[in-house]
Symmetry: C2
Subunit: 258 residues, 2 copies
């Protein structure tokens, strides 16, 4: 039987504010079994860019990563945010290891082809090599992954943290019994977006199709759930959509299952 | 018999300029056997600090690391410089892994006590844990170490790259046959500081004492050599002081031996 592994993805907002960061790290430290943390860091990057007089260009909520912006996200995601989390987790007794996709060639990407929009130095994940990562996890190491990958030709690439979480969970599912947890602003997938108490506790593929047909699940939640089902198809045991404050509360949030 | 391992320490200047960086990485990639790279990055940190309107305060050539400066060196050393080297080495076929001392708790430091000068968030190395590091190296991973450590209480600490190189070499000497290479602006230890061709090819402890007594070795070179002999006492096989352009040229530079 495979060992249990929990992969938590948290957005930048949670890890960039002292109060929410400390709470997250305490909850994360308390999770039993093998674990991985994937983090964002966009607000700090935007803030540093502004201080340097570099304008952050966003298209459809995605950052345009020119050469200067790539330097900033490499500094902020790979350095400031990542190492701060690593040092803090070490203080909680968690043997954290900060990683980008370039480290040990864990995640290789291809620079996104230019179509309507040139996103610049943005990477679309090509493959995750979980061999060395799996060895380290089995020895008690806890990877902390920044939203950066590389192209194998010497360039770092800015990469969506949700994608890193999903692709890493799939690769680790060959070695572990993986639960993938996406932290979200809301308590989970809501039946009524104006009612925070209307969390749908569990969604199967059949439920999902019905919820979309009924118009209950719509907009940005559809691709999010599509990705969750794709992770399940690739061997991930369950996907949970919940709030960062509930990562260690079984029964909270929405469980996406096969 | 232990496997050979070469640990190269290069200053910031080499890794921060495109032409010297590319040459260094090609030479480093060509080194046979196990290897580790320790790098500086001070010029980039000073440059970023200046752009952010933060004055870099130096006392006796050492940076005073206040809270703002700690953020900058964490970004620059741990993010920008480190990940750029890692991505570039991956492109050379070297399976690099960027590390600070906080990652896998490899190097724990204590914040330097305030005496005449308050250096701020500067760490004096307390211990290096080479267990996981050694496992990774034996599997072909090449650690790339930034001059940052942590205190085990959640804080990153700015740490001298020469010290990181020396302490890591000593810890790895339990597992490998270690050659420690300090890259220097000059071709090695010079008999006449005005004559670049006067490199002393080899220095033993007895030679060193004679060279100091004769006034040939003086100033900043004395503590550098003291550290080299201390590394040898702790099990490092040899220490080489040479130029970055000669890291893969046996016979160049000065060999410090027992």
């Amino acid at each position: 039987m495979k060992e249990k592994l929990t992969l938590i993805k948290v957005g930048g907002k949670i890890v960039e504010e002292e109060a929410t960061l400390q709470a997250l790290l305490s909850d994360f430290a308390a999770i039993e079994g093998r674990k991985v943390l994937v983090h964002g860091g966009g607000r700090s990057a935007t803030k540093l860019a502004a201080r340097l007089g570099i304008e952050s260009q966003m298209v459809n909520g995605r950052r345009i990563t020119d050469a200067e912006t790539l330097k900033i996200v490499t500094m902020v995601y790979g350095g400031l945010v990542n190492k701060n989390i690593v040092a803090r987790l070490q203080a909680c007794g968690v043997n954290a290891l900060g990683l980008t996709g370039a480290d040990m060639d864990v995640i290789r990407s291809v620079k996104r082809p230019v179509k309507d929009v040139d996103y610049g130095f943005v990477g679309d994940v090509e493959r995750v090599d979980a061999t060395l990562l799996g060895d380290l996890i089995a020895k008690g190491v806890v990877p902390v992954m920044a939203p950066l990958t590389h192209d194998g030709c010497g360039n770092m690439l800015n990469t969506n943290a949700d994608t890193i979480a999903g692709e890493t969970a799939k690769a680790l599912a060959q070695l572990f019994d993986v639960t993938l947890v996406y932290c979200f602003e809301k308590r989970g997938v809501l039946r009524d977006e104006n009612d925070d108490d209307s969390v749908i506790p569990q969604i199967t593929r059949a439920d999902f199709e019905q919820l979309v047909a009924d118009g209950v699940v719509q907009g940005g939640m559809i691709p999010k759930l599509e990705n969750a089902f794709e992770a399940l198809r690739a061997g991930v045991s369950q996907v949970i959509i919940t709030q960062a404050s509930a990562i260690n509360m079984p029964g909270e949030g929405t469980r996406i299952i096969r």
